[in-house]
Amino acid sequence: MNQIKEKLKQLGGSKPSAWREKALQRRDNREWLRKSQAIAARVLESLRSQSITQKQLAEKMQISPQQVSKILQGQENLTLQTIAQLEAALGITLVYVLDITESVKTGQTKAASKAL
């Protein structure tokens, strides 16, 4: 057993796998990261259904194609401004805010969605 371990050690690189550090970062930022990924997936769906290219989206948003690509990687902590620009460029709603209203008759809480 030691022989195999020793041989593998000699065949190793200068660093261990980069996976663990990245996984911990993903875990630490899971809440907003997951939302960024969901927004990216929705934007990609909209680009396809409207036959808009990433380059055309960049032009509509007046940003670079590289910035659009970054957004679509789903790893960006998007500002509300960027989200609003995406919504305007694509004519879709990406973010909703729930209004909580209470029904007097049933005493139950109802949630109604309202687009921002």
Binding site: G12, A18, K22, R26, R42, G74
Partner: protein, 178 residues
């Protein structure tokens, strides 16, 4: 090509992955596959290219967007299991469940009790005679067979790494990899 540890390098048997890029500019394979599985942009292109396979299988009317969400959630689940096992001092190797030749899924067997064939993420790895695992790659498998370019690429990587191991006198056998 380099063989690098993913977890504590003193673990025996251990879990390793491959750094195909000798210049170490590209990430190692284990880091790379989880990056891909977390990128809506890359997943969108993949599912679009393989749309027929996506919509002809178990999930008949699934959209590309749904497939992206499923993949990211599955990858997150894998990562959570790996990190929690490691932090609890449990044997991470127990999470790698063999499906077929060289093909694995990451599963908490205690919780899922054998339903681990669901889901389409696959890890490809070679088991050495000391029980260590060398992860050569990963893929999204939408078909039963390996006759798709992205899956054949995984078979090529397996063969490259097998050649490399043999050249350096590191033991594995086909028997324990079935």
């Amino acid at each position: 090509m380099k063989i690098i540890p993913i977890f504590n390098p003193d673990l025996v048997p251990g879990i390793y992955t491959v750094q195909y890029d000798d210049n170490e500019i590209e990430p190692d394979e284990f880091a790379r596959i989880f990056d891909l599985w977390n990128s809506p942009l890359i997943l969108d292109a993949f599912f679009n290219e393989n749309i027929q396979d996506l919509q002809s299988g178990y999930f008949k009317s699934i959209t590309i967007r749904e497939a992206i969400e499923i993949t990211i959630d599955e990858a997150n689940g894998f990562e959570e299991l790996l990190l929690s096992y490691e932090s609890n001092g449990a044997n991470v190797l127990n999470l790698f469940k063999p499906l077929n030749n060289y093909e694995y899924r990451i599963v908490d067997h205690q919780k899922l009790k054998g339903r681990y064939r669901r889901g389409w993420l696959r890890i490809y790895a070679i088991r050495l005679t000391d029980g260590s695992l060398i992860i050569t790659g990963g893929a999204i498998k939408l078909t039963r067979l390996m006759n798709r370019p992205h899956l054949e690429q995984e078979l090529n990587k397996l063969n490259r790494v097998k050649d490399f191991l043999r050249f350096h006198g590191i033991s594995y056998t086909e028997d324990i990899n079935l």
